[in-house]
Symmetry: C2
Subunit: 233 residues, 2 copies
């Protein structure tokens, strides 16, 4: 006689997972409602609720009021990537971090940039490009546009000893935005900075950051060749 009692939401989740996994509850099929499960498991409905909500969150279950809960027919895997400050990323690998400012200027951005940032194309922005190093070798090249209207203090910062990456996180943390990952061929200039061949395939991370609707910064980070972003599922 196995213990048919599950009194923590994690154990309930485990049992539900087991049933899904063993196909006791088939893909697409409806599962019993929370009240019935609570009775079967010998716990409160709120405990079952917590477990099921967590599974719905990770995409394994689909829940709708009145309609009930069913196993996702084609679950969409969700991969969560942690985007840390580059210095921390490097140090976490056990490598020595280095930073070098390449350019800092105030100028009008390309139309594409002002458009993406939803800013007046005639307004000048702060441009900062820099190289992040790991064990003295190029690690990532960062090209960034900063909207001085959103962070005036940035105009007083030289970005010679601290990266814009880190400075911004310290001055306007907790922002929202969009992020995109792609592969690009390193342009000649970038390639020479990163120390790789021209048109070498490098991973690009493009990120637009907003602070309460207004664009703060837009950045493209190009990593050294063969860089991988990894995570567990």
């Amino acid at each position: 006689m196995k213990p048919t009692s599950f009194q923590t939401w994690q154990s309930v989740q485990g049992e539900v997972l087991r049933r899904i996994h063993s196909r006791e509850w088939a893909p697409g099929a409806a599962i019993p409602n929370e009240a019935d499960l609570a009775q079967e498991f010998g716990c409160a409905r709120s405990t079952v609720n917590r477990a099921l909500q967590s599974l719905a969150d990770s995409g394994l279950l689909e829940r709708r009021r009145k309609a009930g809960t069913r196993v996702s027919a084609q679950p969409v895997t969700k991969a969560t990537l942690e985007i840390a400050v580059i210095r921390h990323e490097v140090e976490a690998k056990g490598e020595k971090y280095g930073y070098r400012l390449i350019e800092r200027s105030i100028c009008r951005p390309p139309i594409a940039t002002s458009g993406a940032m939803q800013l007046d194309p005639s307004k000048k922005l702060l441009f900062v490009s820099a190289l992040h190093l790991a064990n003295d070798a190029p690690y990532a090249f960062e090209e960034r546009w900063i909207n001085p209207a959103a962070v005036p203090a940035a105009l007083d910062e030289a970005f010679e000893s601290i990266s814009a990456n880190e400075w911004l996180l310290e001055h306007v943390p907790y922002t929202s935005g969009e992020i995109a990952f792609s592969a690009v061929a390193a342009p000649q200039e970038t390639a020479s900075i990163l120390g790789c061949a021209q048109d070498c395939a490098v991973l690009a991370v493009d990120r637009l950051t907003r602070d309460a609707q207004v664009s703060v910064t837009k950045v493209r980070v190009l990593f050294r060749p063969n860089h991988q972003l990894r995570t567990n599922l």
Copy 2:
């Protein structure tokens, strides 16, 4: 007099976010404990708990028993990418999906593959490569190793009308594993399949899937040039 009452966990979360954002609660600083906040907000502690847990989950707060809750000094942004079946991904873009099997064979994998899958290198695996099309143009090229010991049924499937991608999701869903994103130069053969220049920079997604500790499949998907994976933060 503003409403100092917050009686849903979302509104509590909103107020906490506001205070973090306005630096009323500075980065790194401790915030009042749940009981005090509950009293201030005029709600139950469990409501505050739900709100704070959710924020801790997204990396904005750090919580430790007895030590209390503090605002993360350097929050780690978490980007969640949804990895759907490629057919769905294409259809969601409003493009017509197409599929073409390129190769299907049973052979011994390279050492690197059997190693990553933690399998005996001498055991033969099922190899399937295929092309996914969007509006009749190459969209993504998939090279996959499948462990027949984990999914014997795969040996009976030709993968001519259904991609291994989709077949596996249907036959062994709810698996765990690892995923990695990188940029690679398209090898000559791949380039000709994808219809791009040799050594063209393409986004690679490498994924290892396990079903209860045992490796089921290892796949590399190369997307058409300029493909982007994007998400909101």
